[in-house]
Amino acid sequence: MAEGSKDQGATGAAEPEEDSPNMIVYRKMEDIVTRIQDEKAGGVAIRTVKSFLSKIPSVVSGADIVQWLMKNLSIEDPAEAIHLGSLIAAHGYIFPISDHVLTLKDDGTHYRFQSPYFWPSNCWEPENTDYAIYLCKRTMQNKARLELADYEAENLARLQRAFARKWEFIFMQAEAQVKIDRKKDKAERKILDSQERAFWDVHRPVPGCVNTTEMDIRKCRREKNPHRVKKSVYGVPDDGQSQPSPIHISSQPSRKPTKEDVQKEITFLNIQLDRHCMKVSKVADSLMTYTEQFMEYDPFVSGVEPSNPWISDDATFWDMEASRDPSQQRVKKWGFSLEEALKDPAGRDQFLKFLESEFSSENLRFWLAVQDLKRRPLQEVSTRAQEIWQEFLAEGAPSSINLDSHSYERTSQNLKDPGRYSYEDAQEHIFKLMKSDSYARFLRSNIYQDLLSARKKQPADTEQGRRTSLEKFTRSVGKSLTGKRLTGLMQSS
């Protein structure tokens, strides 16, 4: 096996950007495994263990690794430590010596550390020729521990078919590797063999296991060297047939900032300096108040009545929300701010109703019309904008709203080239007006207060609800008696 020198190992196939997302994680894992192996600095004991007729060199128990992780990374739950350890194993930094599946167990199972030559940070992308050489080599060595697993035997068969023409070459390479390996001493070979196997467990994982070499395609374009010269694990010269991976095309070379760019930056910074900002203490109070106010509405914090549909499989909660009568809790929310009231369609309706009763609904109707304008397809915008002008702002408009002369001027200017945002100023002005005036009155109104205290509305208040006094009487009597006898009487009369 061509165990390269440390230098060779470090450069691997291509030079990765040190701060690319993958490298950041690799370096963190490498830091962890380096610390674990440092016995003098509180690391675990790596020992040779005697077993039956032989010795197992350089191993550590899973339980020791879990303990170390809990102690040194401030992990309280062993499950978390096992999970993290399993991920470090899945990336190939530690491995069980008698299993192809790379997970960490919190028991006496033996684990070994991977050689830095094989670390993922070297950006290996081993070709199938290398894998073929490896499997072929394994079949040549008469050792029980090197017997191929079923999936490996299947892989080998497939590779033999795929590389039928160059199999002689592969066979020769495998023989050469076996020769090199024989020269090494027994203990060293055990270790190297297991490390090599772990390497292939990462790059050709057991079917059903996660392939941790899979990359997020959005992050693939970071390689400095787009035309990767692929380095063989076994030093096989590149026969020129390997194409640069199509996903490793270099991204747009980052432009050096031009004068215009820097000038824009300066303008931006000046704007930021002029901005009036709040102190963190004030902002913190505001965040806390908001959260406090809404926590009773947050199902994860306060639960939900009668039950969370996802937990109980009962959709009653949703049916109740959709019903025409909003709950007291929901009505209370409308009192938090005008925004909250308008966010809820029921709140919007009630506010509109109240304004209609005061004959001052034009403000809200204008606000709603402008919201609607912003949501129209482009080609309808111009016409709709004109309609809004005619309805609310033109001379003698049927729903004339009260705008200060400045906003009025601005808006009529905007309408010369009507767009989705022509009414922004006006809308903001009207919103402030409603907030300071009619919204406050709405909250004090009967309409709102009745809903808030869940008082049943007096039927006489509505047109449809005009009932005779006899009916009113019998209704109230019927409620106080166990009404069957009386209502029976009523029905018959």
């Binding site: 950041i24 963190k28 900032p257 900002c277």
Partner: protein, 395 residues
């Protein structure tokens, strides 16, 4: 300089005139410049004016940055978690998987809830987009797209359409038909066109406008009906990976995050970058507004999530732990903003107390990276999408 013949070591676009030609690699005030020989001559004639102005502008910019940092620093009178000490701790959460949505043949890359609180749309590396009734696990619609890696999908506010896009550099809108036998892909309408992959998409408050983010470094606002570009947003210097619209009824802003480690807040009307935050140490994979719209959170490959307040114009909290070393791919808030859910590349979901900065809980279950986490519109459930080909509903 003008009279010498020179050995051209590189060939490419000139830094000054952009024409491709043999380049002279020279240094002006220790800054490397690659000009074609003509531009070098011009520069020499102008007596180094060009080099000087760029350098002095850069100096001005640096000074302003320092000044801004100073000014903002004066407002940093206390840490959020210190103020939050007086708040009661959140009760222990015991979220469990309540539904597992199986059906995708490859990594699930994105998902979005429908406003009806139970339906959702998901998209996958295998090119399929599925609309589910997550409550009954029923697959209601399936759309097969011609390209793989559908990285972005969104549900229209009306519930009558979905948007999806990815490696095809486009974002398309597909109307959802009540007729199950209809081939939805045939009705697909291309709306957004970028020059690189589409990383995120969102309908603004109506079915008529679509906001997209792209690997080409820009965000864009589109009119769905005509496909016209209404506004484009330039400012990021690398791929934009995520965007989120401000939750306000009256606001017109959104936030975006990208591979340049910056989170930018934009005005949709003017296309201007209003505010910018740069404190992460690696790609920002996801940004999400706090429910009040006054702040937002970000998830990054540096394994931290951060909380930024717009009024203080600074980062006010960092959510991190020694044991969390894998990047965060997605974040979302619970309804009140008290809890922050973050999905990570180590297959777990962490739950944070936003105010106190501590981790409340960790969710195991997925067998590969989490690509997206989203709280349902009424806050009753959390959905997570993963590279293990499934989606999970937690409550």
């Amino acid at each position: 300089m003008c009279d010498q013949t020179f050995m051209a070591a590189t060939f490419g676009p000139c830094d000054s005139c952009s024409k491709a030609s043999p380049l002279m690699n020279i240094y002006i005030k220790s800054e490397a410049i690659n000009y074609c020989s003509f531009c070098v001559e011009m520069m020499a004639c102008q007596g180094l004016q060009k080099g000087e102005t760029l350098a002095s502008l850069k100096k001005e910019s640096e000074n302003l940055k320092k000044k801004l940092e100073e000014e903002r620093g004066k407002l940093n009178d206390v840490e959020l978690h210190q103020v939050a000490e007086k708040v009661e701790a959140v009760a222990a959460l015991s979220l469990k998987t309540r539904r597992v949505l199986k059906g995708h043949g490859n990594k699930v890359l994105c998902m979005d809830w429908c406003k009806d609180k139970r339906r959702l749309v998901s998209s996958s590396q295998d090119g399929k987009v599925i609309v589910w009734d997550a409550f009954t696990l029923n697959k209601e619609h399936g759309i097969t797209l011609p390209c793989t890696w559908v990285m972005a999908c969104a549900y229209a506010p009306s519930g009558c359409a979905v948007a999806c896009g990815g490696l095809d550099n486009k974002c398309s809108v597909v109307p959802l038909s009540l007729d199950r036998t209809e081939n939805l892909a045939a009705k697909k309408k291309s709306v957004a066109m970028h020059t690189n992959y589409v990383s995120g998409c969102s309908f603004t408050n109506s079915d008529m406008q679509l906001l997209t983010s792209s690997g080409d470094g820009t965000c864009a606002l589109w009119d769905v009906e005509s496909g016209q570009l209404l506004q484009s947003f330039h400012g990021h210097t690398a791929d934009v990976l995520s965007l989120d619209l401000a939750p306000s009824e009256t606001g017109n802003t959104f936030v975006s995050g990208g591979c340049d480690m910056k989170a930018n807040v934009w005005d949709m009307r003017s296309g201007q970058n209003i505010q910018s935050f740069e404190s992460h140490e690696s790609d920002i994979n996801c940004v999400k507004y706090y429910p009040s719209g006054d702040a937002f959170a970000s998830a990054s490959d540096d394994a931290t999530c951060r909380f930024y307040d717009l009024r203080a114009d600074r980062e006010v909290a960092v959510y991190q732990k020694d044991s969390i070393i894998f990047g965060a791919s997605s974040v979302d808030f619970s309804l009140s903003g008290r809890l922050l859910f973050s999905g990570h590349n180590d297959y777990t979901i962490n739950i944070w107390d936003v105010l106190k900065g501590t981790r409340v809980s960790i969710l195991f279950g997925h067998e590969n990276r989490i690509s997206r986490v989203r709280v349902s519109p009424d806050g009753t459930a959390l959905c997570s999408a993963s590279w293990d080909n499934s989606l999970r509903i937690w409550a």
